[in-house]
């Protein structure tokens, strides 16, 4: 059973464009909703996260939108840059033990 479904699998965006990655989850026991960024050969790094009592959070060029009733949350990258080229994972957190459950990942390529 796939608890977290992420889309698209890959994304190509022109420099300056908007990148949008979506995540749908099934388990209502998740209580924290982060996005992680991973560069080749590196471990994932926390990019931005949101609590379920908030519908949107913005940090610089990165925004999370959260829809609790639809069990979905998305990552928006504004003014995408070639340095944003990486793999992005949604990874909602269980409310017990703090376990992350990762989506399948989205490989983003930003073309100059």
């Amino acid at each position: 059973q796939q608890q977290v479904k992420q889309s698209p699998q890959s994304l190509i965006v022109q420099k300056g464009g908007i990148s949008i990655i979506n995540c749908a989850y099934e388990n209502t026991a998740f209580d924290y909703f982060p996005w992680y960024q991973q560069f080749p050969g590196k471990g994932p790094a926390l990019l931005i996260a949101i609590r379920p009592d908030v519908s949107e959070k913005k940090e610089g060029r990165f925004t999370i939108s959260f829809n609790k009733s639809a069990k979905q949350f998305s990552l928006h990258i504004m003014d995408s840059q070639p340095g944003d080229s990486a793999t992005y994972f949604c990874a909602p957190v269980y409310n017990q033990g703090g376990k992350l459950i990762f989506g399948q990942g989205t490989e983003l390529s930003v073309k100059p």
């Binding site: 957190v93 033990g97 703090g98 399948q104 990942g105």
Partner: protein
């Protein structure tokens, strides 16, 4: 501040051999985790620990064992290595259940031949 340190970075094992992947964190985090990442896939939780002396299974624990004798160390043991355990292994730690961001190590790339 070293964060989460994993050793070795690379290892080739023969089928049936055993090895221990080391993970150490210097941030005094209570929560520690082991994940594996297969090519083109998300990370899968193997084992986790909420404090010294406490461990529990994750999504894919078969073929692995862990121990947590200190806050700093969380080694992962592979017994009787199989080709299906070829993967990249990441250790992570967190200071706060859930709400705290995880700090990941740089990974161990393991090949079983």
């Amino acid at each position: 501040n070293a964060g989460v340190t994993q050793t070795p970075k690379f290892r080739i094992l023969k089928i049936g051999q055993s090895m221990t992947l080391q993970c150490t964190q210097d941030m005094n985090h209570n929560y520690m985790y082991w994940y594996r990442q297969d090519p083109g896939m998300g990370l899968k939780l193997i084992y986790y620990s909420v404090g010294a002396g406490i461990t529990d299974k994750g999504e894919v624990p078969n073929g692995y064992n862990v121990s947590r004798s200190t806050t700093e160390d969380f080694p992962l043991r592979l017994e009787l290595a199989a080709p299906s355990q070829t993967s990249v292994y990441f250790c992570a730690s967190s200071y706060l259940e859930g709400a705290g961001g995880y700090t990941f190590g740089s990974g161990t790339r393991l090949t079983v031949v």
